[in-house]
């Protein structure tokens, strides 16, 4: 009983790590722009595909061993995926923002960008699923009836490391302070001589880079890629970000792990088709009980 509980806990931590990494991208962009970047789930999918091509290239064309390919693939994937995110911002969102239109129109544009990424991928690479090459020899450690693979441990450790680094970036560096300043008051920031566009580009680059990292880790853990893999996981990560309190990094992490835990526990005790039903019902109850999410702060509005 205890062993199976621990086993489920580890699975939940791994599953929640993916949600948390994707939710971070949502929450950071939301914090700076109050924009729901609905294309983010598809950026994650693009990240997984980029990881696939980078890893295949490094393994086959360059002929590197698996570990070296992994070490090179991580920064390359993150860089290329952040380029995708930044170009989305430059091409689609920035011109709209310059016009000062209602932000819901930007949200619709983001939805459209997601559809384009999904279907352009489907049209160019076909509907056949891609098998991700193995980069890391999987080893299973069994401690007191609980089996853990090195990959699972790596995923969980990466998520925690990302959290610590990000917390440090946001609280200690200049660019992080600028991000928080924009979240606090968008109109005062340019008056203080901070370039808003630079901060926004940095936010998109950071968020998309993390989505790329999540894509790489996801592709290593579940080595089958298809164009629609980002859609559902992206929507769910967004829900996780909102449950944690959107705009807050701790909230995104907590929400991601919470969603992962609920889903894994539901699958452990109920038929697996009940997963979405119960997970979403729990999240809805949380939102009804705490309407601004776990870490969200209710803003008072003046008339």
């Amino acid at each position: 009983m205890l062993a199976s509980l621990l086993q489920n806990l580890i699975n939940a931590l791994q599953w929640g790590s993916f949600y948390a990494l994707i939710a971070l991208g949502y929450t950071m962009v939301y914090g700076v722009l109050t924009l729901i970047n609905f294309a983010h789930g598809d950026v994650f999918m693009v990240g997984a595909y980029i990881a696939f091509f980078v890893a295949s290239f490094l393994l086959a064309a360059v002929g590197l061993p698996g570990w070296a390919a992994l070490v090179l693939a991580i920064p390359l994937t993150m860089l290329l995926t952040s380029l995708v995110g930044v170009s989305l911002e430059r091409i689609a969102y920035r011109p709209l923002r310059r016009k000062g239109v209602d932000r819901l129109y930007v949200v619709i544009t983001a939805l459209m960008c997601g559809l384009i990424l999904e279907h352009a991928n489907l049209a160019t690479f076909g509907a056949s699923r891609k098998a991700f090459p193995t980069l890391l020899d999987e080893q299973v450690y069994t401690v007191a009836g609980v089996s853990v693979t090195n990959l699972k441990l790596a995923v969980i450790a990466t998520a925690l490391l990302v959290f610590l680094v990000l917390q440090r970036i946001v609280t200690k560096t200049r660019i992080g302070m600028a991000m928080r300043a924009i979240a606090c008051d968008r109109f005062a920031v340019p008056l203080m001589g901070i370039s808003v566009d630079t901060v926004i580009v940095a936010t998109f680059a950071l968020g998309s880079g993390l989505a790329g990292l999540a894509g790489l880790l996801f592709a290593m853990s579940y080595p089958i890629l298809e164009p629609y893999m980002g859609a559902l996981i992206g929507w769910k990560a967004f829900i996780a970000a909102v449950v944690g309190g959107i705009g807050d990094i701790r909230g995104a992490f907590l929400g991601g792990f919470l969603l992962g835990a609920v889903e894994i526990m539901v699958v452990a005790f109920f038929p697996s088709t009940f997963r979405d039903l119960i997970a979403f019902s729990v999240l809805m109850l949380i939102l009804v009980w705490k309407p601004t999410g776990l870490f969200g702060v209710a803003r008072t509005t003046k008339i």
Binding site: Y30, I36, A92, P95, L96, K99, V101, D102, L104, Y105, V107, I108, T109, L111, M112, C113, L115, I116, E118, H119, A120, L122, A123, A231, W235, F238, I239, V242, V243, I246, T273, F274, D276, L277, F280, S281, L283, M284, L287, V288, P291, T292, G293, T301, I303
Partner: protein
């Protein structure tokens, strides 16, 4: 003349549609496109009530559509045609002619009651948090239906074609185009009446500023409840018609992509403009169907210019790349949508002399 021009034109359009479908002057394909156009008009205008006029962001409209579609289908099969899981029909297919509008309205009522699930949380939440609740509601509805094995689960539910055939056997008329037309006109009229009533003014006041509206003695909770229920109820009506047009429903056709389609229609037409939504729904349906013909043509053209390799065929998947691309370009040049928040009469003031639609 001003008073009677709109009913007169609508009557002519309806008569032409019914006559065209009966005399096979309009092909079956054209009639089905016209019917989907009608369903899309219902969906877009009803979502515009919440997203445009009330200023909330609901992105789970397809969920309510799903409730309406399943309720009407199950009730119809139960009453008029019989099913292997429910046994013999209670009434028999010859009564379906009379029962059909009841089925559609029952679908609408069921969807309106489901709309309460979104309306009640909306007392306390607003904006993006409410958007999540609608999104989660969509997922929950689909998930419930996928887990109900008696109505087919994710395999879907069928048997509605028999009811439509039964209606046509009793009286030889193209019933589906007729009812779709009637319900489309009724729902746009209902929305127009609602928006010009005191409740409608309250809806617009909530959009401007909820706190101020409440201070000015608008009962915001009641207005939100009624508005959400009306919007989701009409989505249910649209869903019921959709189910009977196709003759087959499955949860997969009411997913987020469908909700996104409806959202696109609302924003393409312009938030807070009923005529804009009607226009956008018509245009969007035409666009979707038009690409069916454009893409093979594009394929030939690109092959003749040898811009793509010989082995690659430009497939229908490109439709979903080109349509969003087109919409993004439209957004860049006209971010407020086709009509902005104005109606047809505001855009062309001289037209007001010829019609009145209240």
């Amino acid at each position: 003349m001003q008073r009677y021009s709109v009913p007169f034109l609508l009557a002519i359009a309806g008569a032409l549609l019914v006559y065209g479908a009966k005399a096979e002057w309009l092909s079956l394909y054209v009639v089905s496109v016209l019917m989907f156009m009608g369903v899309n008009v219902i969906l877009a205008t009803s979502l515009n009530l919440v997203n445009g006029y009330m200023g909330e962001f609901s992105c789970g409209h397809a969920g309510f559509m799903c409730v309406g579609a399943y309720t009407a289908s199950i009730l119809g099969v139960l009453l008029f045609s019989g099913h292997k899981a429910f046994g013999e029909a209670w009434l028999g297919p010859e009564l379906a002619v009379w029962g059909f509008p009841v089925l559609v309205i029952a679908g609408g009522i069921a969807a309106a009651l489901t709309g309460l699930a979104v309306a009640v949380p909306s007392y306390r939440t607003r904006g993006d948090y409410l958007a999540i609740i609608t999104l989660a509601a969509n997922y929950i509805i689909l998930s419930v239906i996928e887990n109900l094995d008696i109505i087919g689960g994710s395999r879907g539910f069928m048997g509605m074609k028999k009811i439509v055939n039964g209606m046509e056997e009793t009286l030889e008329l193209p019933w589906m185009p007729l009812w779709v037309f009637v319900f489309t006109v009724l729902s746009v009229w209902l929305l127009r009446r609602y928006l010009s009533s005191t409740y409608g003014k309250g809806v617009m006041a909530i959009c401007q500023n909820e706190v101020a509206a409440e201070i000015m003695s608008v009962n915001t909770d009641r207005i939100k409840t009624v508005t959400f229920m009306l919007s989701s109820g009409l989505a249910g009506v649209g869903g019921a018609l959709f189910a009977f047009i196709l003759g087959y429903v499955n949860p997969g056709s009411f997913n987020i992509l469908k909700s996104t389609e409806v959202l696109v229609m609302v924003y393409l037409g312009g938030m807070g403009s009923l005529s804009g939504s009607v226009l956008a729904a018509i245009l969007f349906t035409l666009l979707l169907e038009g690409f069916r013909f454009v893409i093979p043509w594009l394929n030939d053209l690109l092959h003749q210019l040898s811009l793509v390799p010989e082995s690659y065929e430009v497939s229908q998947v490109w439709k979903w790349v080109l349509i969003p691309l087109l919409l993004i370009v439209i957004m860049q040049f006209r971010p407020e949508g086709i009509m902005g928040n104005r109606e047809l009469g505001d855009l062309f003031p001289k037209l007001k002399r010829f019609y009145r639609f209240k």
